[in-house]
């Protein structure tokens, strides 16, 4: 939303305007003004919105950036790297685990000297999963060889994004640049922000085109070899060049920020010093907290305390000399690190500051280190006062009582310590004997006997009520219907996603059976490890004392997103043929992070990264056929299912269990409704997936020891409907039945028919 008050413009030379937006919106806004060539991206909170806003602007024809939805952050970083070797401008945004997943690409990008700009919307890197803002991902960036610009508020996110590109492309630097802002505190809080009114002015500042004269993999007249094999006599010299370039980034940045200040009136000196001229006590913080602390400084000054604060606007290269100078006359400084360097007696910043003081002969100030605000724990003014108190006490006593500690941790009340609420489920209740699976003596399909579903309500549910899913969520009805077909004990592993997040919000868990969560993409590998440990410990007799009544059935639960980023590990586990089940709940998108497209999203469907506008009509390519990909690994059993056909799904679950206990890996996919993001009525969930089956978009079938059998044929039952009928039942696809999207509808319908006909041919012929 723009506010056009000319009088609010600063003293700068360029025409500006004011908007009221968040940090993520400003990163996207700057990128669209720059009009980068390529963005390779992958959803992760809280940075995902950057790609969403760019997609929305693209759908409305506001920029030309080619947005490439990668298969994971490793892929997105690869897309970006390749694109940057090809001479154009490249942009990305990520956070936390996503950043770590692409980490090995970072030193390659800097070491081979290809500029690009990436926003790191800082968030906790953790196990137990915490998605909120701290600097633990940022601290991994310190050794990657990327200059790092810091953003304390949405205004800085905008400004730094524009300066970052100029810094990256400078002939003295030629390095990729990281722009770091605080997840949620900055990325999701709306503020007034001043921007260039005209895109041309932005492009004039950064240069309308990237500078030439550097290696470009698209210049056929100057062939180059990028990324050779380089051994020890030479590699150290490459590093030295890179080190020199990094240090040159400081004066180059200083020059760029002055040019920017002259143009806009907004200045970002290397250090943001607040009331430090005569300060006796100081606090050093980074980004959003470094703003809050200024209010605290004002309050302390009003009380007569000579307080000041220091925050860096860039931390790579580290402004060691400037920090030492700023602290030369300070008696004591508290350095707050928003991430620990476990065992390092302080976070990364405090130790670098101590080194800076030592190097520059500034031995006067006492230094107190505190770790604060981890996992997005809010930083209140009262926390700022506490940090100052440590410095004030040290200045008064001349010693530091506790050089290193945490701030904001709490011991907890022993009376509220966790106590078991439910008894473990009884094996005899789980093993009802109501389901019978018998192998065929000739090696044909298994014979399954399933009772009326009424009888199976006797079996305890594996997941307890009280989980926090949306009303009408299709995940849990789908999972428990599947579990009705599984007898005895399970060990479950859930990929990151809605099902994981809403069942395990600490200190609660809805999983009555043992459950594991590891990462978004690594579940199949992780469960492989659990499975093989079970069999090996059992073989060694180490489980005898537990008197297990039966072998476990190991089940991995993933969304369709987890099968994108986790496709490699899933195929690996399938090729190794571990005795386990992979069950995918497919809701056609990354719903946990805000409904971004997945590869399973069908053509034309609206998601937050496949918007519908005058320039774009939803997703641009067809849905992934994961069941066929997994069938191609020649595992013993593959199936599809839906809660709309409950007997069919329970039978398949029973078969899945038999194969996972006797032969090897099973993969199954159930289509489930996400009313929130499909923009459909809660109560219609079952009928919508039923329509998906009846229009043959989601055929029900199984591939048993390589032989395909359709288990429900809507044509034979006279139930076949047109795809348009299914699409009309969801808000996300209602546009597809409009005349302007007729081509997309036809293309989608043809693809559905083609796959259905191929499936029928396989059903007819056991050799296909």
């Amino acid at each position: 939303m723009a506010i056009d008050w000319k009088h609010e413009n600063g003293p700068g030379l360029v025409e500006q305007r004011i908007v009221y937006e968040s940090g993520n919106e400003m990163a996207a806004y700057a990128a669209h003004q720059i009009n980068y060539h390529i963005m390779g991206y992958f959803p992760i909170s809280p940075s995902t919105e950057v790609a969403q806003f760019l997609d929305l602007m693209k759908a409305n024809g506001q920029h030309d950036i080619v947005l490439i939805p990668a298969d994971g952050e490793h892929g997105s970083a690869g897309v970006c790297y390749g694109a940057s070797t090809a001479g154009g401008r490249v942009f990305n945004a990520t956070s936390a685990n996503g950043y770590l997943y692409m980490l090995e690409q970072m030193p390659v990008q800097s070491g081979t000297r290809f500029p690009m700009v990436m926003n790191l919307v800082c968030r906790s890197v953790s196990g137990p999963l915490d998605i909120h803002g701290d600097h633990s991902d940022l601290y991994y960036a310190l050794n990657t060889g990327w200059p790092i610009l810091m953003c304390r508020d949405p205004q800085a996110v905008y400004d730094m994004n524009i300066m970052a590109l100029k810094l990256a492309e400078d002939s003295e630097v030629r390095l990729p640049v990281l722009v770091a802002s605080d997840g949620y505190f900055t990325s999701h809080q709306k503020r007034k922000v001043q921007t260039f009114a005209k895109r041309e002015d932005v492009q004039r500042f950064v240069g309308e085109r990237p500078p030439v004269g550097f290696p470009d993999t698209l210049d056929r007249n100057n062939p180059v070899t990028v990324g050779p094999y380089m051994n020890e006599p030479d590699y150290i010299n490459n590093c030295y060049q890179q080190s020199m370039a990094m240090y040159r980034a400081e004066p180059v940045y200083d020059r760029i920020r002055k040019e920017y200040a002259a143009l806009t009136g907004r200045d970002y000196p290397i250090l943001d010093l607040y009331r430090m001229e005569d300060a006796e006590v100081a606090v050093f913080l980074m980004n959003s907290a470094s703003e809050i602390i200024k209010d605290v400084v004002d309050q302390l000054r009003a009380q007569g305390v000579k307080a000041g604060s220091i925050a860096p606007n860039l931390i790579r290269p580290f402004p060691a000399r400037q920090i030492a100078e700023a602290l030369r006359n300070v008696k004591a400084v508290t350095v707050g690190d928003r991430a620990d360097s476990y065992g390092g007696h302080g976070g990364n910043m405090v130790n670098e500051i101590k080194a800076a003081l030592f190097t520059h002969g500034c031995t006067g100030p006492l230094v107190i280190s505190r770790i604060y605000g981890l996992g997005g724990k809010d930083f209140y003014a009262e926390d700022g006062h506490a940090l100052f108190r440590f410095a004030i006490e040290a200045a008064a006593s001349g010693t530091v009582a506790r050089p290193f500690d945490y701030h904001g941790h709490t011991p907890g009340d022993p009376a509220k310590a966790p106590k078991r609420v439910l008894n473990p489920m009884k094996y005899e209740d789980l093993n009802t004997g109501l389901i019978k699976v018998t192998p065929d003596e000739q090696g044909g399909p298994l014979k399954v006997r399933v009772p009326p579903l009424r009888a199976l309500t006797k079996k305890p549910k594996r997941i307890a009520p009280g989980h926090g899913a949306c009303p009408g969520c299709g995940i849990f009805s789908g999972l428990e219907l599947f579990f009705k077909g599984i007898e005895g004990d399970i060990v479950a592993l859930f990929h990151t996603g809605c099902a994981m997040v809403v069942t395990t919000g600490y200190p609660y868990s809805a999983h009555k059976a043992t459950y594991i969560h590891n990462l978004f993409q690594n579940g199949a590998a992780t469960l492989s490890g659990v499975v093989e440990m079970f069999w090996e410990r059992k073989r060694r007799g180490e489980l005898d004392h537990l008197q297990l009544p039966d072998d476990f059935t190991f089940v991995m639960i993933t969304g369709d997103g987890g099968m994108d980023i986790g496709m490699g590990p899933a195929i690996g586990a399938a090729l190794r043929n571990h005795k386990m089940i992979i069950l995918e709940y497919d809701n056609e998108g990354y719903m946990n992070t805000g409904a971004q497209l997945s590869y399973s999203t069908p053509l034309g469907h609206r998601t937050s990264t496949s918007n519908v506008g005058q320039a774009n009509g939803g997703k641009l390519f067809h849905h992934k056929d994961t069941a066929q990909i997994m069938a191609a690994t020649h595992i013993p059993y593959v199936f599809t299912g839906s809660e709309a056909f409950p007997q069919d799904l329970v039978r398949k679950a029973a078969k899945a269990q038999w194969y996972a206990q006797h032969e090897g890996l099973v993969y199954g996919k159930i289509l489930i409704t996400c009313p929130l993001n499909w923009l459909s009525e809660d109560e219609e969930g079952t009928s919508i997936v039923s329509a998906a089956v009846d229009c043959c978009f989601f055929p029900l079938y199984e591939v048993e020891r390589g032989i395909t059998a359709i288990t429900y044929n809507p044509e034979e039952k006279n139930k076949k409907i047109a795809v348009g009928e299914w699409l009309a039942s969801m808000g996300k696809t209602r546009h597809m039945n409009k005349p302007e999207f007729a081509d997309a509808l036809a293309s989608f319908g043809q693809e559905v028919d083609r796959r259905w006909n191929a499936l029928k041919a396989r059903h007819e012929n056991p050799y296909l």
């Binding site: 709306k190 579903l453 307890a464 949306c470």
Partner: protein
């Protein structure tokens, strides 16, 4: 330049909205903030609570207004609101929605109940209650609760101008949903006009309760098992999710039930309670006993799945769910 009625030490007039996901409180907060910043030239900041919250889960939106020349540095949540907007009355069962109010704070509640009754149910010592039947208005106008609440919030924020807001509502709807413009405007206006306000002064000698920081955990480093492992899984049964219902719930008529389990197959929240009994022929058989409303979020998938009239979707009235709840028979660990 407009004048804020009061401000805190840092110069902020602060508003906190308390809701469940799906009622549009986040959007209402955004529109309110933009009306202040863009509409009348205040400075401001607005944000929502983010996390694993889904539709139906408690959410908060925070808004700070200040004069145009006041620097905004604070990113912490609003703990001492001048106005609280409660979009969902039932929230007060599980969330202290009035945490941190001043004795002269305004508490706006979407409710059909009289202020004196709400003072009791909110456990409110003092403050001014403003009540609007936003749900009732929205149902009558076939529009959204957040429009009525937004109208009421504009009434309470007298420094904002409702006319530009109405223009924004008109503009955002008229192209795509022209028929929704008038109902939305009427809903907004009825919210604006439909307030009942009653002030409750602080009793002599009493003090307003101190707030508890929103980031205060139950467990701590001396009590939580290492590694974040949850050693009492299944404890989610202790949660009360009835606040997730936004107005509807299923009714169960046992006499019409054929015990087919179609409801059980589609229920996302495992609300159906079964018991093994003897059928007419003396054989053991499962019989549906009823619904555990503590976990029912009111999606009504079961009503759709039911092949008879045993389940029906109805407007929720106070006390129905508590009276008709059939609790699950969990195998509880000895305490």
């Amino acid at each position: 330049m407009v004048q804020l009625p009061k401000v805190n030490d840092l110069g902020f007039f602060e508003i906190r909205l308390e809701s469940i996901g799906g009622l549009g409180a986040n959007l209402a907060g955004k529109m309110l903030a933009e009306a202040g910043v863009v509409g009348v030239g205040l400075n401001g900041v607005s944000f929502s609570s983010y996390g694993s919250e889904k539709k139906g889960s408690p959410v908060k939106a925070h808004i700070r207004f200040c004069s145009p020349d006041t620097r905004i540095r604070d990113t912490s949540p609003v703990e001492r609101p001048h106005i609280v907007g409660v979009f969902h009355e039932a929230l007060a069962k599980t969330v202290n929605v009035i945490s941190g109010i001043h004795e002269d704070s305004l508490v706006l509640v979407n409710s059909a109940n009289p202020p004196a009754e709400l003072k009791q149910s909110l456990n409110m010592l003092a403050g001014t209650l403003a009540v609007v039947d936003a749900t009732g208005i929205a149902l009558e106008e076939k529009n959204r609760v957040n429009m009525a609440m937004l109208g009421a919030l504009f009434r309470l924020c007298a420094f904002l101008d409702p006319e530009p807001m109405k223009a924004v509502i008109r503009k955002s709807l008229e192209k795509k949903y022209p028929l929704a413009v008038e109902p939305a405007l009427r809903t907004f206006q009825r919210g604006y006009e439909g307030l009942r306000v009653e002030a409750f002064p602080l009793p002599a000698g009493a003090q307003m309760p101190a707030y508890v920081r929103q980031d205060t955990p139950v467990l701590g480093y001396e009590t939580q098992p290492i590694g974040g492992t949850i050693t009492n899984p299944g404890n989610s049964i202790l949660k009360n999710l009835s606040i997730s219902r936004a107005g509807m719930l299923p009714h169960f008529a046992e006499d019409k039930c054929i015990h087919c389990a179609a409801c059980d197959n589609v229920c996302p929240d495992f609300c159906f309670v079964w018991e093994e009994q003897e059928d007419k022929k003396g054989r053991p058989q499962m019989f549906l006993q009823g619904i555990d409303y503590q976990y029912c979020k009111g999606c009504l998938k079961c009503v759709k799945a039911c092949p008879t009239d045993a389940l029906s979707g109805e407007r929720e009235v106070d006390g129905y769910a508590d009276a008709r709840r059939v609790p699950h028979r969990f195998d509880l660990a000895p305490s």
